[in-house]
Subunit: 150 residues, 6 copies
Amino acid sequence: MGATDFSHLDKTGRARMVDVGAKPLQQRRAVAEGWLRCAPETINQLRARALPKGDVLAVAQIAGIQAAKRTAELIPLCHPLALDVVEVGFALESDRIGIRAVAAITARTGIEMEALTAVSVAALTLYDMCKAVDKGMVIEGIRLVEKTKV
Amino acid sequence: MGATDFSHLDKTGRARMVDVGAKPLQQRRAVAEGWLRCAPETINQLRARALPKGDVLAVAQIAGIQAAKRTAELIPLCHPLALDVVEVGFALESDRIGIRAVAAITARTGIEMEALTAVSVAALTLYDMCKAVDKGMVIEGIRLVEKTKV
Amino acid sequence: MGATDFSHLDKTGRARMVDVGAKPLQQRRAVAEGWLRCAPETINQLRARALPKGDVLAVAQIAGIQAAKRTAELIPLCHPLALDVVEVGFALESDRIGIRAVAAITARTGIEMEALTAVSVAALTLYDMCKAVDKGMVIEGIRLVEKTKV
Amino acid sequence: MGATDFSHLDKTGRARMVDVGAKPLQQRRAVAEGWLRCAPETINQLRARALPKGDVLAVAQIAGIQAAKRTAELIPLCHPLALDVVEVGFALESDRIGIRAVAAITARTGIEMEALTAVSVAALTLYDMCKAVDKGMVIEGIRLVEKTKV
Amino acid sequence: MGATDFSHLDKTGRARMVDVGAKPLQQRRAVAEGWLRCAPETINQLRARALPKGDVLAVAQIAGIQAAKRTAELIPLCHPLALDVVEVGFALESDRIGIRAVAAITARTGIEMEALTAVSVAALTLYDMCKAVDKGMVIEGIRLVEKTKV
Amino acid sequence: MGATDFSHLDKTGRARMVDVGAKPLQQRRAVAEGWLRCAPETINQLRARALPKGDVLAVAQIAGIQAAKRTAELIPLCHPLALDVVEVGFALESDRIGIRAVAAITARTGIEMEALTAVSVAALTLYDMCKAVDKGMVIEGIRLVEKTKV
């Protein structure tokens, strides 16, 4: 391509993936959480496994785990990572469902996006499973709780 | 399989996809929104296109559109749908970024999950693009704003 | 490309997708089934929900539903289809687990491959969930049970 | 979200998917073609099925068909479409391989991108299959040959 | 989230991915096999490359290889793995087609599910390619043949 | 499966993935480029950000990066790789758009296919974004520019 100048475009604010090639392999762990605010009656039906789409927490848990594995497909500048483990758990309160995800890996870059993606997609799945009976739900408070590397 | 009884398991709360085969084709439209709360300095850098990963809103918009098209892969009991259109827009305020998605389709089932998924993945992408400079961001207020069918 | 002859290669046995453009839209339904043969002790642990990877049937059911939606990605000459519904159920016997899937659609082509894919991936998931305690499992008897169109 | 103004961002050149909801369902067909220029010796080895990775044309054909089905995942503003058929064929010349793809659908929007994607991914696959023996290949001349709707 | 107790839910039988972070990297290899039982006439047509969908074994082989690479997307608690190699081969007998897959990797966890997935999806693809001429096929005998690590 | 002979089929030219298990981990880098030839007026509208689908280069860049990460899904015999970085840049000339992609990794096998896939899908996306105003575009000159390992 001879003298064609590609480099000047790199300075105009276009997207850049971080090059992690020079970073060391480290054991990394991230914890994220979030909430689905819903009607108290929805919590009651969920506890009673009486919702029309079935076992809400089991489905949301699988959805969160599966989404964590596909984070790099969803978030354009994330690196593909081979996760060591993802865990997704729930806490039922009177008018909201807590979602917590833990992701761990030995890699050159962090995995907070994997944990946050697991929480987000688990929350969306809870929403989908409950929306026939509850029209006013809100997903809120999705944030990183902890991030460590060794 | 003769007298094997599969049906009794269907009553134990396992997941059930809704059968939409008998529903009419209708024009459906859903609007969802959500927010990424962040530091005012992050908004400043975003406006100045000074963030290390580049043009944050352009990347988040594409990520949201792409995710909407893959909603049925992410959310286990969602139906695969051939969307007519998805739009993702943003609003910058002093300490948060608003995300709004509109999805429309001619189908047998609604598309609120597609709009909510677009908002969620756009929010996660904003988070990813800004996390090098802002460690305290929170995704919040993801909800359905409007849902119509004709 | 002028006189370049592409057509002669079509006669050498290469793969051909069936053109369904001229077929009518019909309501189609397919039922498939299969079995995972395992040790009686595995069935006991599964009933007691004592397996190390957790709620085996819930995970396998979701996996089967999700796989049915992705059949056209897995099987090269399958058409992409927007399923109306997929159901996956199980039957526990003394030394095997039955898997049954029902898929339905309004489309120009049949969906037996979607039902068979749901059964196969549910069986693989059961295998994965039980393999820590049972090294001799065999997946068998995967076949189409029923196929109708209206 | 009250008075928040999302609309002003829509005017700044951000990406917009075309809304096809008001367009009629029509039978649409597109033909695309392209070429992999390579050494004459590579063509000889391909004809003799002597290349180290095996039956080059069979693999490239499947790759092209599979990619056409995933066009909307690859190209951000493409609509998801349920193709009626995709065909991929090849023509061997002395120093290049011709690739032709035909895609057809009954839909609200055209499918030239599906045909072009099939050609592109088939060409990339040919490149991958031949690169151990030919370091100077070039993919060229990928274009739309024909586009019709009825 | 203060005193919210997520941990008690982990004891109720929900799904758990195994944490492989502390396991050593080892060279691992798995061999799986399975069968598609079909009419003798189907085998004859397959040998003659006279089936309507084309070169059955070539398509099934690619489908099996591609599926092995996507095992972690299909089976919820599988770890994403970067395979070193997957091979899929076939054996034609008078009334059935044998399918054998070998998968190898340097990783912290085994790859029997990748080999079994390759066999299963290759079998489904054979079924799809032959179903126009043979309505009574059965997939059977899918099992792990060998598993080694060094 | 006893004396069943699978091995003879391996000699008939079927597809073979290269086993990279014995290769050393090396830092690898590949640069690819290609062109979209278009009307001068299209370049003018692109510079003016006046095209109907919006910010063409931003969308094409993301599409190229995302496609590079999915190369092993698109090209059947490619190995799944966890890229360290992918960059995609553009150069506007009077009647064509240059596309350049750089991919880097620490792995057992090269990544020229990832760089070539990024260029190809970025070119297809440019085509899609411009096709409403330009019917005669051609994708050309996609080739490997540089390949190194350390």
